[in-house]
Assembly symmetry: C2
Homo-oligomer: 395 residues x 2
């Protein structure tokens, strides 16, 4: 039997345009906050995992995990960097889980971050496109926004999703982001302003038809961290340790156009089913959910393929307010990638951090009342590598 | 209790100047050989780990683990990329070990590779230098050869190592490499030719004083793979499964100049002690060893700090032939990094593959007779992140 694993602390470095700090400093900031939140005191972290997608390409630093171990005075702790595209953070949490479950390490720091805003946007778009299929996609100029646009069009045609539904996701997540001090974007938007008013065409221009500006997450700097430990020592560090009840990860056919049904996110399906099965829980048991809304359509599609709504119906749930704060199943109370931002290597960890705060009742204005069970899904590539977790509070 | 983990197969793609294949093709070649060597048949791999240091920087491919899962028809297997500088391969094997020990995955493929030769050498030297300390080393122009040169000079002054001892390492490892069909360099050299003859100055010119051409490993393309599984099912795949008896990993102070004694490789010491302790074995029990001789001095220093020789005495053991094939403790029968080559992400896995062949008695002309217990050490940065393993054959 593997050991049970708990989350005992978390921290974030403000997402946004962080011209004030290097990637290393952002990682240190989030790590320090997470270790303080944990109340480790003199107890040592025995290993760390660092997730970043583009540290080498953007900041001329490889083997960054070793450097961070030194910067945080954690030497001789074991240290690895995980790079798994936008799922880097989820992968890092998974490997930390395994390290503890296997019994080789007791307390593990997981921290991820990215510093993306100090280079031109087209360079970032190109670097992100290196996660697509090298010969079937990348060399033809495919980018993530172009894949998302095609996916959205197919989805609209097949399931009747309309532009207004996409805009509703943006409005909801901006609303939530206003309540998250760490969010990149603190800006109230309205459905009128980005969709129905005459100014909407100007306010919310087409980027990759049918996607518009407010259907895209921003390019962000930032970092997030969590501390995991063996459940049997978790009470030393947290009154309310959060149990990692379920873990799932799955890959999918790499080139989106080669999938039998491109509107089905198989890796979301499989990884979420694995996580729920391991946790002996079902989607209907979840109180709060964080999804990977790099594009608005993804929140809709993931919420269906993870089992929260029948396929083709999630947009109606959004319209009915089911997924809003105060709704039956709040999705992305943090603001999601849309408003919290998307420093790629941080995102999967920021999801776990948000759920940890939610389950501990520490989420402030965006607190989902009495949340006890939670789910998140970190989406890599265009759905070719997805990591899912089910977390729960032990009472 | 964590589950026992076994190695049940391995494979390599020829190291060298692989203009014929892309990085992806090299990874596929090594993976396919390892899966065939394992005799998996219709049995599926449940997860894969891919180690590469510079896939993004050199081949415009990020999130490469997802792509490889698809290329190998392993979807929906979980897939992560590990980047830990030159210790990427060791880190990947460690995480695969944890995945199985924790009970979440049963059969895991680990593959690592690099494609480094199709860019100018000074670009590679700079990219490799990104693993050094960003503010204390990198921005001042420190490179790996320069660190190795300073380390060698200190070592010579302190312990009486002479240029001839370094050359003896090169001669020994070239000799071994001639017997390894996968080695990058198949070239016999003699102590006379690179050290004592009048032509030696020309044959073996100074690169970074006191280091000369034959003190450096080559820049290589190549890939290596191993398949690990839960020990309780290992006999299905291998008559002689190899047990992962000990695992160790440690970091060290990042900037070499800030270490209390720069000639002591603390991460080698700690990680090897962890691995031996876990295996309940000692250095004297080992029959064959693979060390990370990116520079000749490192084979000497690592063999001391891992506990095989008293500090300051390994060069005498080399001189006495103790570490030669046929000696009491053969080191780097594969040819080591010096002759097998050093496609960075492949190296830690190639070490484990070599020991697997040795312990199975499949090492051909370079077979260490009746080898039953083995050790390897994968050295990241300039010793700031080291992964060690103790492997043994179950009889």
């Amino acid at each position: 039997m593997p050991r049970e694993v708990a989350i005992v602390g978390c921290g974030m470095a403000q997402f946004g345009n962080r011209t004030d700090k290097s990637l290393m400093d952002l990682l240190k900031e989030a790590s320090t906050k997470a270790m303080e939140h944990t109340g480790l005191g003199e107890t040592n972290v025995s290993a760390l995992y660092v997730s970043t997608m583009l540290a080498g390409e953007l900041t001329n630093q490889t083997a960054i995990a070793s450097a961070l171990a030194d910067e945080l005075c954690l030497v001789p702790a074991a240290a690895d960097r995980i790079e798994n595209g936008p799922a880097s953070g989820g992968s890092a949490v998974k490997n930390a889980y395994l390290a503890i479950a296997a019994g080789l390490f007791d307390i593990v720091l997981v921290v991820g971050g990215e510093k993306m805003r100090q280079v031109p946007g087209d360079r970032i778009t190109d670097l992100l496109a290196t996660m697509t299929h090298p010969t079937a996609e990348y060399i033809h100029g495919v980018t993530l926004p172009s894949l998302a646009a095609m996916f959205t069009r197919l989805y609209m045609n097949k399931y009747g999703v309309e532009r207004k539904h996409l805009s509703m996701i943006a409005v909801k997540n901006h609303e939530n982001g206003l309540k998250n001090p760490y969010a990149h974007i603190h800006r109230k938007i309205t459905l009128e302003g980005i969709y129905s008013s005459p100014e909407a065409e100007v306010n919310n221009p087409v980027i990759a038809d049918p996607l518009r500006l407010f259907d895209m997450c921003p390019i962000s700097d930032g970092a997030a961290a969590v501390v995991l430990c063996s459940a049997d020592i978790a009470k030393r560090f947290a009154d309310k340790p959060i149990t990692v009840a379920g873990v799932g990860q799955a890959t999918d056919i790499h080139a989106v156009s080669q999938r039998p049904d491109p509107t089905t996110l198989n890796a979301v399906k499989i990884s979420s089913q694995q996580a729920f099965k391991m946790a002996k829980l079902e989607p209907k048991n979840m109180d709060v959910v964080e999804l990977h809304d790099a594009f608005t359509i993804l929140e809709i599609a993931e919420s269906e393929d993870a089992g929260f709504f029948e396929k083709g119906t999630a947009h109606k749930a959004v319209e009915a307010g089911v997924t809003s704060l105060g709704g039956k199943l709040p999705i992305n109370p943090s603001g999601g990638l849309k408003a919290r931002g998307h420093p790629v290597g941080a995102t999967g960890i920021a999801q776990v951090a948000e759920l940890t705060w939610q389950l501990r009742g520490e989420a402030g204005e965006r607190q989902v009342k009495d949340a006890k069970k939670a789910f998140c899904c970190n989406f890599g590539g265009f759905g070719n590598n997805v990591v899912s977790f089910v977390l729960k509070r032990e009472d």
